[in-house]
């Protein structure tokens, strides 16, 4: 395993930034998210490695607002031009295992055989993921319960596995892309040290048989209980690493415009509202139910995996503490 002392992390970042665009987890005025390393260098943000960030790195795959194509509408004439993708490889340093698993979920949606999404695929190919194993889980983390491996990141997504050894980081290449990237780095040490100790997660529960159980619970009174306090804001969806619903919008200046793909949330009224006024999911109950079932049942039925990866963001950030872990525990009984 290659290593670098934490004190020399800046030199590692400098090397990476030379060859790649570099994104690192930062604290920007109280909001933790992935941002260009230059923000850290300029002192705009501080490097944040204490746990997963509030706004997940899905932003590097499915930005909150992304141009899909541009157009010119002039009289009766129309011209459409596609947007160029990333032409430079981009390193994401310190992506947590939950977020690598989440990207695997997004793969199922955006890389399906019939309608592959080239913009997503471009980012998927250009991003090099350095995935950092968590030694100290947050109190809201429950990835183990959702079946994640805390010692190893999702191998189809992560390119380099990173371990935190206290005063140094260890690196192991997972993919060829990751190996090529590591090979370019100089000044790394070598060690065969064993993996760091990981503190156990406190939020632990059993999820066996959950999708099957939920199948018969569509009309269960439990939904009233959980939806009552919901505000129908989009916090959970926007910070969720697997929520991928989007809306398609315009931004127009005169005759020229871009089509934007922007995040959307199943909690919003407009999400399902049809012209003519029909609203299939009119209230909190329908929306909370749809979100939870999508995470825990529907996605399983389609792709044989859970759409909840146990990152704990919604547990921590929901303004009214609508707690998906409590829900799961209650369903499992």
């Amino acid at each position: 395993m290659k290593t670098i002392e934490k004190a020399k992390l800046d030199s590692l970042f400098a090397q990476l930034a030379q060859n790649y665009s570099l994104l690192v987890p930062v604290d920007y005025n109280g909001l933790t998210q992935f941002a260009p390393y230059s923000q850290v260098q300029e002192g705009v943000s501080q490097l944040y490695l204490d746990g997963n960030v509030t706004v997940s790195p899905k932003t590097a795959y499915l930005p909150q607002s992304e141009a899909m194509y541009k157009f010119r509408a002039q009289g009766k004439k129309l011209a459409i031009e596609e947007m160029a993708g990333l032409d430079k490889q981009q390193v994401l340093f310190g992506v947590r295992h939950c977020d690598t698993k989440a990207i695997q979920c997004l793969d199922k949606v955006f890389l399906d055989e019939k309608f592959e999404d080239p913009q997503y695929k471009n980012k998927r190919e250009q991003n090099i993921v350095f995935s950092l194993a968590c030694n100290n889980p947050k109190a809201t983390c429950f990835c183990e319960s959702m079946g994640l491996d805390r010692a190893h990141a999702e191998a189809s997504v992560a390119d380099v596995q990173v371990y935190d050894f206290g005063d140094s980081f260890g690196f192991e290449a997972i993919s060829d892309k990751g190996k090529a990237c590591l090979d370019k780095l100089t000044g790394l040490g070598e060690t065969a040290s064993k993996l760091p100790d990981q503190k156990p997660q406190t939020l632990k529960f059993d999820v066996a048989g959950l999708p099957e159980k939920l199948k018969d619970m569509f009309e269960d009174p439990i939904w009233d209980e959980y939806s009552f306090k919901c505000l129908n804001c989009g916090t959970c969806s926007y910070i969720c690493p697997t929520c991928h619903c989007f809306d398609i919008n315009n931004k127009i200046r005169g005759e020229v415009g871009v089509k934007l793909r922007t995040w959307d949330s199943c909690m919003f009224n407009e999400y399902t509202l049809m012209a003519g006024g029909h609203q299939p999911r009119a209230g909190k109950k329908e929306r909370v139910r749809n979100r939870f079932l999508h995470k825990l049942q529907y996605f399983n039925e389609k792709h044989d995996m859970s759409l909840c990866v146990g990152c704990g963001r919604c547990v921590a950030k929901c303004p009214v503490n609508v707690d998906i872990t409590k829900f799961i525990r209650q369903v499992i009984g």
Binding site: L78, I80, G85, L86, K114, D117, C245, F246, M274, F299
Partner: protein, 282 residues
């Protein structure tokens, strides 16, 4: 691993429309128009199966999913109802022939043609709901020998609101072994046909069919499906098309789900048997 850039691999972005030209605009009713669309080269934009959908857009305004009601060698037809609070449909209705628009598709599963083959079919439609059903009717008529008797039951709010009048009153009744029944909701001067709601009309006619295709406003579908069941049609052979809000058309943007099905991908055509296993959230 080689570094691929967007430019060296030509990939199809399904979310980016092709350019289509509106060749002809036909007024069906005061609030329904049919748009005949070709590519700028004069070709058919895509080849839809009956019941499939197309995404139709004016990029500067918006984009929405409509069923393809008919197609020819070099065009597809989309019939669109204008909603007063619908920004896109209002603008579409105001545009003129020669307008270039965005078009992408075909999307969705379409009607299960094989299942209809050799059977007597009843088509039940209300209002603009005839648009998707019409694609199937026209398919059956083009391949007339493959299908049994065709019974078409159609209703509109008033006689002015009936779509595709030429088909209903002139073309279709001439097709062999075909019956067309038309009703309007309320009595109206100059109308000597049937008056009443479609579900009741279906009950009244009691067509002797082995399979049914139903489309219309949600209330029509809701009331008609049980009547067809009572007439002894098996759930597998009661076929309807659903509509929910859609954005991407390819099962990614999320909003058109009913349970784990996406209407844009796994629908819009569902049988009663499939609906029985789905949450009632449409």
């Amino acid at each position: 691993m080689k570094t691929a850039s967007a430019s060296d691999v030509k990939r199809i972005n399904n979310l980016v429309p092709k350019i289509g030209v509106v060749k002809e605009i036909l007024d069906e009713t005061p609030d329904v128009k049919t748009f005949r669309i070709s590519t700028p080269e004069g070709e058919r934009p895509f080849t839809p199966m009956p019941g499939q959908l197309g995404m139709y857009s004016l990029p500067a305004v918006g984009e929405a999913m409509f069923s393809v009601t008919n197609y020819g060698d070099d065009y597809i037809d989309m019939s669109i109802k204008k909603y007063n609070d619908g920004v896109l449909t209002s603008v579409l209705h105001a545009m003129e022939e020669g307008q270039e628009v965005g078009i992408r598709g075909p999307y969705g599963n379409g009607f299960p043609i094989d299942q209809f083959k050799g059977k007597d079919i009843v088509f039940v439609a209300g209002g603009i709901g005839l648009a998707p059903v019409r694609s199937l009717i026209l398919y059956c008529m083009r391949n007339r020998e493959d299908f049994g008797k065709l019974t078409i039951i159609y209703g509109g709010r008033s006689k002015d609101d009936l779509c595709f009048k030429e088909d209903l009153f002139e073309n279709w009744p001439k097709v062999p072994n075909t019956e067309v029944h038309v009703t309007i909701d309320r009595p109206q001067e100059g109308w000597d046909g049937h008056v009443g709601f479609v579900p009741d009309f279906v009950k009244e006619i009691a067509p002797n069919a082995q399979i049914a295709a139903v489309c219309g406003p949600p209330i029509l579908i809701k009331l008609t499906l049980p009547i067809l069941s009572q007439m002894g049609l098996p759930d597998e052979d009661i076929i309807t098309t659903l509509e929910l809000r859609m954005k991407c058309g390819i099962g990614k943007c999320g909003r058109c789900n009913i349970g784990s099905c996406y209407v844009c991908l796994d629908g819009p055509v569902f049988s009663q048997a499939q609906l029985n296993n789905m949450p009632k959230e449409y």
